[in-house]
Symmetry: C3
Subunit: 261 residues, 3 copies
């Protein structure tokens, strides 16, 4: 019996296929070597939509071009971390960034203002320029866990960034899951999320959710096809089981035994 | 000098060899690729007795059969996570589960009721049926950290499940080490353990112990040959050093310098 | 554009090259297999100065000699964990330890008294003997998080151990980062560090810093060329980005945009 037949027999949720607009899994690579990359694409390439080379790791990765090629060959889009673009911007080197990203053959870019202070009009201008040539992920929220931005501000920024050409908005969390859309404890700022999605639907967002409890919260709230980001490379298959109700946390409330079966 | 000679010279505890009935290390694979599997068996196959493909990860693992074969070739028994059986049971597909496990060539199965509510008599009937064809690991304890089961109940279930044919009982902990035999903080429910083992000896149990402090607790309490489960793949060698008194935590109280040497 | 050109264009800090006396990264291997070792040296060999086979893992690693050879071929010095020497010492087997380390072809050794009680004069005598044949890393601080040693004692020991021939002093932290130079919470004992470095400059120390927040603290305090130890194998590239100001935590205060660019 093939696993696809079993999934059908068990009535598991049907997941979308690539290229996806929902159900996106966005993964954080913070320095894998090529053998680990091979393992990741061999086990996870059908689940991973976007691979982010975290913050500025691309600048210290000797195998950078080989790694990008391997991911792309296996249908995984690659982008660099938004923080790196912020470093370039802080040195007035935006054009050089664009040139380098193009030379690397990337199709996706992330724009963020998680670290530097950037007038929103300037951020929008970057999104406008980049969206002509790239698929733009536009990140909202600070990496400083002391910065609490009110919901109306999230909504304003989100609407403007989508209009400027962003493909998806990314809700900031850091690698640790303790800033942006989360409290310092890692707990979801659920009031924020609830308010934001009434104006800008969840399909427009990739919610960064590095911690399992965070992934569970979003899947319970928005279903298996919610877009999730900053997933650790070791958590790709575990996340897929959470989406499908094959792990305790989402099996419990989401998939009670059908009485008729 | 070979490491075996050194171990003898240092008077390290002598560990049992495979197939083991005590000193068992039971490891959780939550999605390794084949290169990582190769690394794991190359470094750890003499230490790992049982490898569990956690919860429902087997259904989303493209390299499932290849992975099972590699482990088994290296003398590591493979079983699927108990939660997956619970998913099948909740859909009234127990027979299909047995058929699939047999087709995969597995020798071990795990039976649990950590998520679904299962009358104990029904759990026992599954153990009885499975123990005819498989080595049965029978897991006791809830995955819900709010469920606190009193010791007498653990003892009753343990005795009945051994009588029904379970080879070993597994003390639940989750991947995180925060439910079942642990408090939410990860601290061992030591009163529970102490009471339970007076009736059902420790050799009958595989204590899930994903956190180092938990492994240390059990090794100090029951010695280097205690059976431990849900060990992360990266912790196999570190656990072996804890068993042998080669790490600070178990070197301190367990192996003071022999004054005569 | 090559990454080295980009680093220059962005005005990133210039890092020293091997063999380094400052800017040292000292990494903890607690049981990697050969494929992971290959990944590590392929991505990180120019950043990693010393690789420690943690505590007594060397005695349970089947691929020990192959692993040592691979690291050394790639210019990474290897040493065994100090705890293992303590095990040998506690059995009166110091000479056998030296013989074995020589036979393994190691160039570096770590001397510590993190677990056993060792008169300081005896520790100094080991350092004196070992420093004739090896580069000695001398570790100060207890692995027992209840042991708080006052600053003057750290300074006394540090000076004496350098005089005895230690190449660098190692500030104890354990794998968890919760003892020695840290509080149980993982917070740096900053008063201790500040006082110690006035007498024994930071270039003489390798500060163990397994947690990111600890690495950030030391880089902010002493700059990108601080020596850091017990770095997890998965954190080698992330640490390098912290040193260079390519991650939020050290980009913020350390590298404001140059107004003239």
């Amino acid at each position: 019996m093939e696993t696809s037949q079993i999934a059908e027999m068990l009535g598991l949720p049907v997941r979308s296929h690539k290229p996806r607009r929902t159900g996106i899994t966005h993964v954080l690579d913070k320095g894998l070597g090529m053998k680990a990359v091979d393992d990741l694409v061999e086990t996870g390439s059908s689940y991973i939509d976007i691979l982010k080379l975290g913050w500025g790791t691309s600048l210290v990765t000797p195998i950078l071009r080989e790694k990008i090629r391997r991911y792309q060959e296996r249908g995984v889009a690659v982008c660099l971390g938004g923080t790196l673009l912020e470093v370039f911007i802080s040195r007035n080197r935006f054009d050089e960034y664009v040139g380098w990203v193009r030379e690397l053959g990337l199709t996706h870019v992330e724009v963020s203002d998680g670290v530097i202070t950037l007038p929103h009009e300037e951020k929008l201008s970057y999104i406008r320029r980049l969206s002509k040539d790239f698929t733009v992920l536009s990140e909202i929220g600070s990496k400083d866990d002391r910065v609490i931005m009110p919901p109306y501000k999230w909504i304003e920024m989100a609407i403007a960034e989508l209009e400027a050409g962003a493909w998806k908005l990314v809700g900031e969390a850091r690698e640790s899951g303790t800033a942006g859309i989360y409290r310092q404890s890692g707990e979801v700022r659920s009031g924020l999320i609830d308010e934001v999605v009434t104006k800008v639907g969840p399909e427009n967002w990739i919610f960064e959710a590095p911690q399992k409890s965070q992934q569970v919260w979003f899947i319970r709230r928005f279903g298996p096809e919610v877009n999730l980001g900053n997933i650790a490379t070791s958590e790709v298959l575990p996340l897929e089981t959470l989406r499908l109700g094959l792990r305790a946390d989402t099996l419990m409330p989401g998939h009670p035994p059908a009485s008729g079966e």
